[in-house]
Amino acid sequence: MAAKNITTPLSDEDVRDLRAGDAVAITGVVYQARDAAHKKLVALIAAGEPLPFELRGAVVYYMGPSPAKPGNVIGSAGPTTSGRMDAYAPLLMRHGLKGMIGKGLRTQDVKDAMHECTAVYFAATGGAGALLAKCIVGNEVIAWPELGAEAVARLEVKDFPVIVVNDCHGGDLYEEGRAKYAKTV
């Protein structure tokens, strides 16, 4: 499958160009953040305080890596279930977040926010953390190191393989793919 190449940060135009089912290779910076980090990010926004990274145009990767072995950039680094971040994602999109990488279903609220704010949801292959780690070439923890695997890190990725699940036009690969292959038994 020929992949579309995109570079972060993403513009509205970049996002509009992506359709559910597109294979995409991401290059640039993505920010690692999962449950505990999202709770803190949203608290900072509510308090009107600055975030540890620029949210405008950013892509967040829902991921908590295993520890890096000596000499490696990062440990295994596949996506975690995105649904746990659904409570926080719309607010982050309203503050400029353009892309989310994870795996699994999103709520209608999140999909609506993607449409309103021109944002995109990508799936990376869950359980392929050893393979995906090979596409991460830089890794620096930038906030809340005490959270361990749940800290926020600035990750530099090169040709990171994902597939568009939810685009900003209402396309949904989870629904479309499933309908296409469902059978009556």
Partner: protein
């Protein structure tokens, strides 16, 4: 009745440590072969590509000695302790937890256990405590099985207190519904462990034990083997496919175990397992 055999719990610690590491680096051959086979049979091109990535990922993990998945899981330990074994050198449970501590530390595995889950959710930083199921069995050996159980698939599991009148049709509906609602969340293709009978506590353990069977193995009871085949066909007809992106491979296997239950009850637990079905067994 054999002689009582002394076994130093240091051996338990060492064995648990080694299993935590190898279980997380080396995908069992039965699961690996099932992924390769599924890749051939998968109808969706995207699904084929996902399965290809999973096989390549298992190869990289084994060669580079890194975890198959960053979620190296809760350490679930099944211990069958022979009644002619005398454990010496310290408490057995402590020895198991020390093995988990060392395995997750030395193996560069992720520490994923939060204490005080209702409020502080503080990481215990060493992946303890293990979930330990101990049973006393005949003999003078200790058999230990370690399963690395990830959170994403565990979250999609279900407990169903059915009515006996719902029968097999009710059970089919509950299993298929659990997998259907889970969709892409538990990292399909999944392995589905089904426990039937017992009480709410024992039926969930039964479902988890069912996951330890080899993918491709048939249940010795042909009636249950038939039920497993029927469920697998219905689940794969859902169209969820590898990673939920659409396709004909939603599950690699369905395993059922049953035990007696109360005349008023029909408990059924469905333990969902991702494709990275990581487990190891040793005998001491």
């Amino acid at each position: 009745m054999g002689q009582v055999r002394d076994l130093d719990v240091c051996a338990v610690t060492e064995a648990v440590k080694a299993m935590c590491i190898t279980a997380n680096y080396d995908l069992p051959a039965d699961v690996y072969d099932a992924l390769v086979k599924a890749k051939e049979a998968e109808e969706s091109p995207v699904g084929k590509e996902v399965l290809d990535q999973l096989v390549e990922n298992a190869d990289i993990a084994a060669a580079d000695r890194v975890p198959i998945c960053q979620d190296t899981g809760f350490a679930v330990i099944f211990a069958q302790v022979g009644q002619d074994v005398h454990l010496v050198g310290g408490p057995f449970d402590d020895a198991v937890n020390e093995g988990v501590r060392r395995g997750y530390g030395d193996g560069y595995l992720r520490k994923s256990i939060a204490e005080e889950p209702a409020h502080a959710r503080r990481n215990t930083t060493d992946n303890t405590p293990a979930i330990l199921h101990t049973s006393i069995v005949p003999g003078d050996k200790v058999r230990l099985t370690m399963m690395a159980k990830g959170g994403g698939a565990e979250n999609m599991s279900s407990l169903n207190m059915l009515k006996p009148s719902q029968g097999w049709d009710g059970m089919v509906e509950a299993v298929v519904d659990t997998v259907s609602r889970a969709g892409s969340n538990p990292c399909p293709p999944v392995i589905v462990g089904v426990g039937i009978g017992g009480t709410i506590d024992t039926v969930t353990v039964l479902a988890k034990k069912a996951l330890l069977r080899d993918v491709g193995s048939a249940h010795p009871d042909p009636r249950i083997a038939g039920m497993e085949a029927e469920l697998l066909e219905k689940i794969n007809a859902l169209g969820i496919g590898p990673q939920g992106l659409g396709g004909s491979t939603t599950a690699l296997a369905v395993f059922i175990e049953e035990m007696p239950c109360h005349i008023a009850s029909m408990p059924m637990a469905v333990n969902v397992q991702c494709h990275a079905q990581r487990h190891k067994t040793v005998e001491l």
